[in-house]
Symmetry: C2
Subunit: 232 residues, 2 copies
């Protein structure tokens, strides 16, 4: 019983909310950090870095938030259109759908008489048959109705929270090189912590996830820094 409980719990952990926080915060911590680092190599005052950083956080959070909203809406529409299609197929070409059900079960080693018995039962209840095809043939589950809106808000807020961390030192220190140094330290620590927590939720080893996340941010910032140097 214990094992079974653990099992259910793990599914809960990988929830949509966590996924959205990870999507928003991964980019929010990395891109503004790298942009600010890149500009530190190219300008003399932190005002411009803050302006660019602020504009990037605004743009990034809105773009990603609305992107999440549209993705959620697309999922719902995709589900509805596939549902309508399956309903039509079960009604109009039941023999093809029957063949699809049979193929699914044949793969798992069921015998022909079992398969025939299953398809006969399905045919008696077309609604459940459609449900079965949606989940088992297409792998689609009905999306939660308020999903798109929640997803948009979660991603945008996570992006903003993530983005403020690397920019904060540029508010406090006015010399770009000093602010950059503090920003690098603060952000690498934030990336480590975020990666560790992310690892706990996604089931990857937390330490491994912590270092992977930190290295991703570090590489992005280093390349952006180098490119900004070249461009100016």
């Amino acid at each position: 019983m214990d094992q079974h409980l653990n099992h259910v719990e793990e599914h809960f952990l990988g929830s949509d909310f966590i996924r959205d926080v990870v999507i928003g915060m991964s980019d929010g911590l990395t891109v503004p950090f790298a942009l600010a680092a890149g500009l530190s190599g190219a300008v003399d005052t932190t005002t411009l870095i803050l302006t660019a950083g602020g504009a990037e956080i605004a743009a990034g959070s809105i773009a990603m938030g609305l992107g999440g909203y549209l993705a959620g809406k697309t999922d719902t529409e995709h589900f509805e259109s596939e549902l309508a299609r399956e309903q039509r197929e079960v009604r109009e070409v039941p023999e093809l759908e029957e063949k699809e059900v049979s193929e699914i079960f044949r793969k798992y080693g069921l015998e022909e008489e079992q398969i025939i018995s299953i398809t006969e039962t399905m045919k008696k209840n077309p609604e459940k048959w459609v449900d079965f095809m949606m989940k088992f043939e297409l792998g689609l589950e009905k999306p939660e109705p308020s999903r798109a809106r929640k997803s948009a808000i979660t991603i945008a807020i996570s992006y903003i929270v993530g983005g403020i961390i690397p920019l904060f030192p540029y508010f406090i220190f006015h010399k770009p090189s000093t602010a950059l140094m503090v920003s690098v330290i603060v952000t690498l620590i934030a990336l480590l912590i975020f990666g560790y927590i992310k690892g706990r939720f996604t089931g990857t080893s937390p330490m491994k996830s912590a270092f992977q996340t930190m290295i991703t941010g570090g590489i992005a910032a280093t390349v952006a820094f180098g490119l900004a140097r070249i461009l100016t």
Copy 2:
């Protein structure tokens, strides 16, 4: 038969490659565009806009590409760990797994004797039983081995291609306000075309997708523009 063929085709269209192009290009077209627009309201020369834009494209493409790589790796690890768990459960607590199989089929209206017949067959072939649980209980499919690397490259390149479009006018015109005007026109057209094509692949109405995508980019750019004005 025709219907059935269409069916298969639609699955193919929503492929991982297309999904990665959409992920990279959505943000690539939007964020550098909005950042450049935001800075146009705050600086006098396009050099700085190009520096910030270039740093943002570098940072964004690397962060998103590596993010895609890590997501792909996490999927693989998640699959492997769940596989090991199901194998263990089928071996150690088969009666619980049997109950899970029964619950799955009960939901679809199968009768008890059919369910018992199915679970008996499953027990004879534990390997296929595990396959069945992976797909039908957990909804997991074995990820393609080179998926993470391909995903990273596709996302990064799409981000770069998307990001160059709105920045290009700032190379040509040296007055920020002129470059901004051209960038707005070019990018809104690009967002319309990209949204239209995206709609065709995701099954949303292409015209609706075209306008949604354009409006997302427009809103992000407008807010970034306003914020940059306030910050300077």
